[in-house]
Symmetry: D2
Subunit: 338 residues, 4 copies
């Protein structure tokens, strides 16, 4: 961390600052120029409150040199973390498809879709039981009944299941869920993250709508700081000024994340674009960018889906997508789990 | 709601669409042009799933004409809602200052600041007990002890208190709190909103970091749909590309909100800017834009505050701010509660 | 175009509005509901000033149904436009690499890089002669001498050349240039666009830093409206809140553009990311998304480049990139020009 | 400027870097920690190419400590610059209204509006002769005839005139214009800026649609580096995700600019919002934020204006606005020029 001190700082304030920093167990390297004095803080600066420093009268600016995340940081954990979800591996050269309907609607619907996506190559079944919707008047999911149907489908097909949690008080109901999804709107629901950090279940952590990569990794850090390191990140689009797509899929984030962290990184092209016809090109793009898996909405009868029909593929479209991804995977050094 | 149908639509699909819309209790007005057929849906379109419509093969685009919020909509409730917080009125020409430290740190600190802001003109005391922080390693607030100290300060000074809730499971602890704040990160924590909708307490609903005005009003709608209509909106800055300020305070939102909704609207210039020296100009700007109150961080000793010191005013700065606002209020037709 | 009229509009104003619209040669379809009257305008609505309509007292809102661009619109020109640049085809299943140094620095540098990128598979040589730089104190390019060196390299290697124009007054100097690039900062320099519309040269039109897809197509429309239809669009990243990358490459724009327009679409992954190590993954992503070519900065000695060294590939990295793209092209139905 | 060097850097590369930096006339202060070596560059770092540094293998990151602008920097010019426009002063406690129609439409219209805004308190007359429009099919202004009418109005009313330049080749036509406006879309048209830097006329430099404050000041620097220091900055809204307003007026930029630069800062609330009914609240907000003047569109007959009618005030609304601003000015320590 670098502190730029104003010209001619008050000596007493300067002494106090130096004392305070040393009290945090840090060393200081001073560089005095004509117009500025620069203090380089050496040691574990994750304990330093940047905003506090900035508020001091003698401080002109503060720049962080090291990332504020530790457990998620590749510097301190150079090898890829490989997360096992019901026997399927994420990270370390593996590639997985998580697929299924946006919302669980009925046993028949879920099992039909599950069998279709499994046949096409998906290894994990997704399906929303609790749906966070912008409007209180929109369909909010089958809730407990949805979780029950996921268990039925899991037994029927042998696929591990992935579903979103929206209420910290319902965690007990997720016992039979293999990987718990944290949606974009809850990415900074820190109490939920801490609670999930105390479970033993893999977590699929989606990026918040306007979260920086650093904030996203800090949310992973929240979970990891409580002991759970089985985290998979999932890019799903960020909010920008462009109205043609619901969100702007930030694929640059994929190679950036692979540098910064050892955690596996997936992409959800369905929510990002909001249009089924964009799912194929964005899926291929995600694979090119280095994604280690895709989470894709598939519906047996999209126009009648109760939510997000506009972004769901039909099973035959999903099958075609998997075939194309298969051709690309060797280019990016990955292998699809079968 | 307007549905633009593609050229030469399949007749059977068209018939199905018409039947489905009528089944929702809506009337349809058709306009057939050379290149496009336009369907105008008349009736309560809040029940229609836009995304579903967009997914249909024969549909080119869907445009909503009416706002999707009802309880919060000024069209159906033309008079200003006036929210009473411990005897102080928000809305309807009243102007209030909510002030206090970012975090509750100790009884002495809280009471010192409370007395100072009350003397300057604040009517509601704010103070964070539970602090949502980006980093799990940052100070997270005194929690229950913080709530206890707020009760002490309330008794000591007679000021109603305002504090943030971050965990739905702690709601019972907020019995002595006069207005519960929902922070930006929880603006779309819908389970929390629904629970707060079942309380009788006024809610201060901050705008999410990247929430549109419409989404924000839909979050108010979540609370209102459960029966609680005592909601005060608070603009606190949105995320943009500009790095000089922590957030970009969106003051255009104030007059827009005053048109769209009957709920009172405040501004928090402290969190928006992240710098104490921007608080005065942004406060005056907020008053000019039509804000009905300000939420301001004040600290007796900013450089040692445990969080957000950089954005807190000293009591004498707050006092100066109130004096200047007083001169401006007649220009915007408001009166400060004393 | 849809006009939503307010409740109980003034009859005289309503009559005036109807008369004005009919005077523009448009038909009106009226839908009267309980709360709103909707006017559907049928005909060529590109002549209607939306802002003017919005300003009328009786109008609540205006929604455009048809795109405001005509010449660039795929609806009126369903087949792909194929642009020929010195014998190399863009669009219609062809795939091209435009490569070369960010800035032309010397004859030796330019020719060395040109030969290397040609050997690797590039068909068009790029090189900046006039460089728009944020700072007036930064290197602004070799200017006329740079253009002369491009002609030398073109003669030496047989490659058509691509370079940016920044000053409308210099157009005459571009006679030997095969495709003129309009940079992001000049995307809405309408006088320049009109002048380029009067030339016979292909134009590479980059997306503005914060331009919507629609604005971008309107800029293409400016050129086309003057008679020049040889336009290639080039996505190069948009401005968002994310600081890790210089810009956020908007790859969702590629499939969206392929629907909206018949013009070829390229991607420049070098400027988007600002980091050489992101160029490979973003290039593969762009191919997956459907790009019809890539514009890539290559330098024989990146660390000493006078500008943008940080984002340039070395020739051997570019060669590896082309090899990987070659494997992917069949997946997206394209063939590289050789 | 701070350079963070990677762990265990190659010794030869490190020596080269040190030699290169010293060759630029800079001193280096080294801080060696366990994990990082930090180099503090002392001297005039505006000559250093950051991107080049970042591209070096041994460099982890580069952070600029000093602002890259010099002439515009308040540090090197602590007193407010006061710009004289036809006898009216901008900056240094003065407050001015620039008002008039968006587009010059006719002599009668221009003179009617000019007299009205002068009577209400405006000191400078604005009016668009050349209009940059997103669509090539929209009205582009009366051009030369518009400039001629501005001269007529200037003679008739004695008001200095302000109008936008869009084509560098037309500069000679602006001889009788008192302050030349550079619009948002041309903020980084560097060739135009340099040419304007060689004139003796005051320049009203609008902020680009997605320009950071630093980029905006760098554009001012372009003009200043050619010798013209009579620059007035004008905030007019930035592009964000919020669709209710055309742009998001960034009023936080006003106090930030007053710290960073000595140049006067105005606000244009008309273009920012796009709605006449938002002009009053945003004008008052701008005054509160510290603006030193307002540029406001006024039209005698808004609904028939040829462009931007939706955002123009009627003369009586402008008069009311001036009256309200007058009450506020003492609060912010400014005086309106009469």
């Amino acid at each position: 961390m670098i502190i730029v001190v104003k010209n001619n700082p008050d000596k007493k304030q300067m002494d106090n600052l130096v004392k305070w920093i040393k009290g945090l167990g840090l060393d200081i390297h001073m560089s005095r120029g004509d117009n500025t004095t620069i203090m380089g803080l050496v040691g574990d600066t994750s304990v330093v409150d940047e905003d506090l420093l900035r508020s001091l009268d003698i401080v002109e600016s503060v720049k962080r040199i090291q990332e504020p995340f530790k457990n998620a940081n590749r510097k301190f954990h150079p090898e890829d973390t490989v997360v096992d979800v019901g026997g399927h591996k994420f990270g370390g050269g593996h590639f997985q498809f998580i697929a299924g309907p946006c919302s669980v609607e009925s046993e028949e619907q879920l099992i039909t879709v599950a069998k279709a996506v499994k046949a096409a190559g998906a290894t994990i079944l997704r399906g929303g039981a609790y749906k966070p919707r912008t409007s209180p008047y929109a369909f909010q999911g089958l809730k407990e009944e949805g979780l029950r149907l996921l268990s039925v489908a899991k037994k029927e097909t042998g696929m591990p299941v992935c579903t979103e949690i929206v209420d910290i008080r319902c965690l007990d109901l997720y016992e039979d869920v293999d990987i718990i999804q944290v949606g974009a709107r809850n990415m900074q629901n820190f109490e939920l993250l801490k609670e999930l950090g105390r479970t033993k279940k893999p977590i699929l952590l989606k990026r918040g709508l306007a979260a920086t990569i650093e904030e996203w990794l800090m949310s992973a850090e929240y979970i990891m700081s409580e002991g759970n390191t089985d985290i998979i990140l999932c890019e799903r689009g960020i909010r920008t000024f462009e109205p043609y797509t619901r969100n702007t899929l930030d694929l640059s984030a994929i190679p950036v994340l692979k540098e910064l962290t050892h955690l596996p990184v997936l992409v959800d092209p369905s929510h990002a674009s909001g249009h089924a016809r964009l799912v194929l090109p964005l899926s291929l793009a995600a694979v090119g960018a280095g994604a280690e898996g895709l989470e894709i909405e598939v519906h047996n009868d999209p126009p009648h889906a109760l939510s997000d029909g506009a972004q769901s593929l039909r099973p035959e479209q999903f099958d075609d997508l998997v075939r194309r991804v298969d051709v690309m995977l060797p280019v990016v050094g990955k292998e699809r789990d079968r």
